[in-house]
Amino acid sequence: MLSYIASYLVMASIYGIIALALNFQWGFSGLMNFGIGASYMLGAYSAALLSSAPTAEHLGGFGVPFPLDLVGAAIIPGFIAFLIGFPALKLKGGPFAIATLAIHEIIYLIVHNEMWLTNGVWGIRDISRPLYSQMPQQYDFFYLLIAGGMLIGFYFFFQKAVRSPWGRVIRGIKVDEDMALMSGKYAWSYKMQSFVLGSAIAGIAGGLFVHYTGFVSPTNFTPLMATFIVWLMVMVGGSGNNRGVLVGTFFVWGVWTGSEFLTDFFPGSMETRAGFMRMFLMGIILLIVIITRPQGIFGKEKIIPKYLRSE
């Protein structure tokens, strides 16, 4: 039971990192990125391929050790986001969301079809799990230290980032882009920085994911599991509020893992349908939040500079 809770916390921490990255792009910079799952997937596959032993099945054999390949898991999605940003950031609002969704679908198609690169639907097995042989029993607890530590680190990083002068410009562009332009801030460049930074950090979460499970396949990155659930976490917690997003993440991931128990009550013949019950639940949560509490549980955080606070 304890190790079950630890494994829940590990996955929630990994999703928490993606949710913080999305919250930075959406809640603070106003970029409606429906392709956040693509960065997560790219990071996961980058880490898997960089760290894997040589094999005939797919690209690999670079033998980059664990913490270093996370750098690759950040650089590759970050660089691809940079390339995508040139055409996509010309668009605003809905069309931007459509473009990022389309990119997600294309990257998914490539990962799904190109056997030589990613081994297609069979996925990549035997990804190194750091220090697993030393403590196979307590591995969830050990990995929780890594993933939870990274989550806490990124939380403080984003809290600092949005309060920095740079973060102020980013938030200003979300509110009024023309005003930012008039103040001599080149909005496009700041949006690009936010897009690349968020994608790179979602990529790191992907790297953490593959080293935890030791296996990765395209089914881990369906639109529901890679993108929508992350959006749900941000919306439930309150976009533009990092603390709220953390609470939203642990709540949504709790409902998701908890609903797995519910499906056990269904008879075997209903099992595949019970899986869709969980998908239904996720969609309904979003609709309920949007209708009853559109700002999320916590709402947007008011960020007031220290010298303006009244007490």
Partner: protein, 309 residues
């Protein structure tokens, strides 16, 4: 060369039916409806439901179906509209009254995708269904092979597109819809009831999507994910044609359908000659996306776009 062109026209007419719905909602309700693909799927499944209930009336001409299919299509269009209006009443109307931003509405529609897809999968199961038997193609000169059903698909799309066009152009309600899309405040001041316009927008959008889904079911098969894979081509058709432009949706839909088929087959031939092993048909959806980038770089408001800013 001509084979892919024919396939492209068939695909293009199905995309057009969806794209008109997307463009109407984007224009009048002011958001990109990500649930449109799910509505498309729902329509196909409603037709499947009614086909199984209705008595078999044999087949007409040399089509693989008959009168019961036509009745099923009409019933499916009506049922899909009712479901969509139900979602509008409980969700989108609340958001409209709250003056929610268009991004918020788009996100809500994304949530609706999963609710609808999960419901369809729970009722009908995740497996593939067929309306009827598979039909053999008729051979024409120049190596063209067309199934009789495919004539029906193109004809039915063209007729419905024409009816929609005439409706928007000449009826009182159609004129009111166009007025609302131009200027909501001015239309309201002239006595146009916005809620009535919204209701009719949903009915037209859902009916055309239901027909599109059914036609795709006739051509290929029905499965719960079919609409999701049509979503991006529909959006691309709308953006290529220009948001809110009826003719744009028609031309955009045809451009996407034909270019997806033509470019895939041309690239496949090229790769074969160069001895590169790539299965191009797997990347058909990617072509729509490359097109969107090209069009948006050259003409940011689409070919027929009329809105500035």
């Amino acid at each position: 060369m001509i084979g892919p062109l024919v396939n492209g026209i068939i695909l293009g007419s199905i995309i057009t039916l969806g794209a008109i719905g997307v463009t109407l909602v984007a224009d009048i309700l002011n958001f990109f409806n990500f649930a449109h693909g799910a509505i498309f799927t729902l329509g196909a499944y409603f037709t499947y439901l009614y086909l199984n209930i209705l008595p078999d009336m044999g087949s007409m001409f040399s089509l693989s179906f008959g009168g019961s299919m036509l009745i099923a299509i009409v019933l499916s269009m009506a049922s899909t509209s009712v479901v969509v209006l139900f979602f509008d009443k409980i969700i989108f109307r609340t958001l409209r009254q709250r003056d929610a931003s268009s991004l918020f509405l788009a996100l809500t529609s994304l949530g609706l995708v999963f609710v609808m897809k999960a419901t369809i999968s729970m009722i009908w199961g995740p497996q593939v269904h067929y309306y009827g038997s598979i039909q053999s193609a008729i051979k024409f000169p120049l190596g063209i092979r067309v199934k009789p059903d495919e004539f029906f698909i193109v004809a039915a799309s063209l007729i419905l597109v024409l009816v929609t066009y005439l409706f928007l152009k000449y009826t009182r309600l159609g004129k009111a819809m166009r007025a609302t899309s131009d200027n909501v405040v001015l239309a309201q001041a002239s006595g146009v009831g916005t809620e009535k316009i919204v209701t009719w927008t949903w009915i037209m959008s859902a009916s055309l999507a239901a027909l599109g889904g059914t036609l795709y079911g006739i051509e290929v098969q029905i499965r719960p994910t079919m609409g999701w894979s049509f979503l991006i081509p529909m959006f691309v058709a709308v953006i290529v044609g220009g948001v809110g432009s009826f003719g744009g949706a028609l031309v955009g839909g045809m451009i996407i359908g034909i270019s997806e088929e033509l470019i895939t087959s041309l690239l496949q031939d090229m790769f074969l000659k160069l001895n590169i092993r790539v299965v191009m048909s797997a990347y058909k959806p990617a072509i729509a996306f490359v097109l969107i980038i090209f069009v948006l770089l050259v003409r940011p408001h689409g070919i027929f776009g009329r809105k500035g800013g």
